[in-house]
Subunit: 209 residues, 2 copies
Amino acid sequence: MESSSAASGGSTRREATRQKLYEAAVTLIAEQGFSATTVDEIAERAGVAKGTVYYNFASKSVLFEELLRHGVGLLTASLREAAERTARDGGGKVDALDAMVRAGLVFIDRYPSFTQLYVAELWRTNRAWQSTLMVVRQQAVAVVEGVLREGVESGEFSDEIDVPLTAAALVGMVLVAALDWKSFQPERSLDDVHAALSRLLQGRVSGRH
Amino acid sequence: MESSSAASGGSTRREATRQKLYEAAVTLIAEQGFSATTVDEIAERAGVAKGTVYYNFASKSVLFEELLRHGVGLLTASLREAAERTARDGGGKVDALDAMVRAGLVFIDRYPSFTQLYVAELWRTNRAWQSTLMVVRQQAVAVVEGVLREGVESGEFSDEIDVPLTAAALVGMVLVAALDWKSFQPERSLDDVHAALSRLLQGRVSGRH
DNA sequence: TCTTTTGAACTGACTGGTCAGTGCAAAAGT
DNA sequence: ACTTTTGCACTGACCAGTCAGTTCAAAAGA
């Protein structure tokens, strides 16, 4: 027992295989969707035998669910880190929001396929992994909601804002802008995109230059 | 001869069948995704034999593509109408944007399944209907971009804003907020949601009450 | 008015193919 | 020694698309 001990690479052979499978699955499912992606394809792209997939995961949907948890774990960690960093540096809640927007962009820049897949599955109903998806969504949105709530308490934000809805809207803003960036103008720099969103976020849209 | 003449209601038997198939397909595909939805299911929900589906549409994906075109047609018409109405009423571009946000919410309120399905498929790559989707996306976003551009020209918006990206971000804001509304707090009123988004849009988030 | 014909619309059993998941003996890795 | 991976044949369910046949309302004919 105690297979994946080491805090270091954390690389048992098994761990490495699972990682390869995640990477293969994420791009294929992002492109084609869950149902249209076959286990044979995933195995082939990972350079692994089909049996290995079933040795490592109980089923195709379990592989997918663990992939979801894994990916959202990375995202929430990154968001939380961004919020805490600005707090340490004595920034206000607006700065925290801005830092989280950037963290979101960095994440999407690094894992575009995961983002694609996440958005594509999030609002579906009647699916096997529905509950996993809800949990995972709540984790991510909760970080944003937390910052908004603190901002309201400290008086930095109006207490009339609707915290859950505003959080969702902010997440949506970043998500859709970033997916469009990656899909339709991939040559643009992250700083560029971030600047445009900051401007929108801080209401510096109206009024001349 | 001359069976389907009348320009009137346009309600041939065929037309009615196609409409039933659209309605059945849109909810099923929104729930399960395109690949996971079978033609048998669509036919059954529409109360029609499987052969009828193929009598009316060349294939499953053609049915889907026509469904997309049909739905986005309704959306763009509604957005355009909202923008023009505010222009007639002597409103500024901010009012136009606000009216379009509301029009978007009304649309999503009326056709939640279509919206779900649209978001789920929009950023996929390597799919048969990819080009249809691009055309249809551009139609919708172009309306928002148009209003932003006019606002920049008239000096109402800063000329530093990035029109395509800001348009995408605005669409995303409404889309995600509305889907969350429908999925997680369906009891809230449209006016309520609209008010929250207006506040965000007009930068009335920071600052006390 | 009544009968016959026409053809668009629809039906549902059937086909050919695909795919998730299994089983297992042998090999490779640690 | 024991864990992990391989390779590959196999099964049973499921599904897109087909097609020979049915329905029926309206047009043509008598």
